[in-house]
Homo-oligomer: 151 residues x 2
DNA sequence: TGGATTTTTGCAACTTTGTTGCTTTTTTAA
DNA sequence: TTAAAAAAGCAACAAAGTTGCAAAAATCCA
């Protein structure tokens, strides 16, 4: 075990924030870290719970908006009025997200995952409709929960 | 023009509510009518605006929930924290929706449409993931707005 | 048809979620 | 180190959604 376990990660995170043209602050580092150590997507209230009382609610809203604007995270549609966010692994530029992957919502653990390897299909539309972006949300049971059931 | 223009429709709506096992009330008739005369999907606040002060906000929430439960309407996912609803044209039973169509969100008029003829594609998932439902949301410019631009 | 029973509505109060303006604090860059 | 710029915190508010309960309406059946 190294004595500089966390400072290593912190430096990485700080660097990656700078590279995106953002100033490095405690809340941004913390929220970025939460996304990185999280397998699934996070909602605003997830972050609020995980971050404890460390930050003001408003700061979290503003940080999420900033991350969205800079192409660091993307919003995942849902039908239950709670928007979730996840890190962009693709090449997202400020103001323009470029995602081809699909999202999976697990009805058992209620987590949302980006399936980065599954490419969104092309959809044939009726005459007159001009597509710009395709979001696919699959609901079912995720890998973890399927495995857990068996054992 | 017939003198019984609306009573005709009202009877139809009442009948269809009864067929679903629901008692017929003013708010249910009105909200059902709004969905029927609407091309796109409706959010809670859309309904609130269209219905004016006729009904309590809570009644609208409860009516939407009832319609969802009975398979009369379905919820459409979105990434902007406002859930929209549309009539089910498919064979939806209480407690079980069966939709194969995709949804189209127009970035110009901000309406959401069900494209009933476009079937959701089958998605190949990684080993372990069990799909139960697929939602496809395409964003772009709809038929109406494309046409309107040209003229 | 009339009245008892069941269901739905309206109201009030409350929780959660999201927004805005302004002041103080922190970060950045010279 | 310090001035300028950016972000955080705070307060106050707006919007969205929920719950319990009493009044009103719809349904059912004699």
């Amino acid at each position: 075990m190294s004595g500089s376990k966390h400072s290593n990660k912190t430096i990485e995170i700080g660097e990656s924030l700078k590279r995106k043209g953002l100033s490095v602050t405690d809340s941004r580092k913390k929220i970025m870290q939460l996304f990185m150590q999280q397998k699934g997507a996070l909602s605003h209230s997830d972050i609020e719970k995980k971050a404890g009382t460390a930050f003001d609610r408003v700061t979290i809203y503003r940080t999420l908006q900033t991350f969205l604007d800079k192409g660091i995270i993307h919003a995942i549609p849902s039908a239950d009025a709670s928007v979730r966010y996840a890190l962009c692994n693709d090449d997202c530029a400020p103001g323009h997200h470029e995602h081809q992957h699909i999202h999976f919502f697990c009805r058992q653990c209620h987590q949302t995952f980006c399936l980065d390897d599954i490419v969104t299909p092309s959809i044939g539309l009726p005459r007159g409709y001009q597509p710009q972006e395709v979001d696919v949300l699959v609901k079912g049971v995720c890998k973890n929960c399927t495995t857990a059931k068996k054992s």
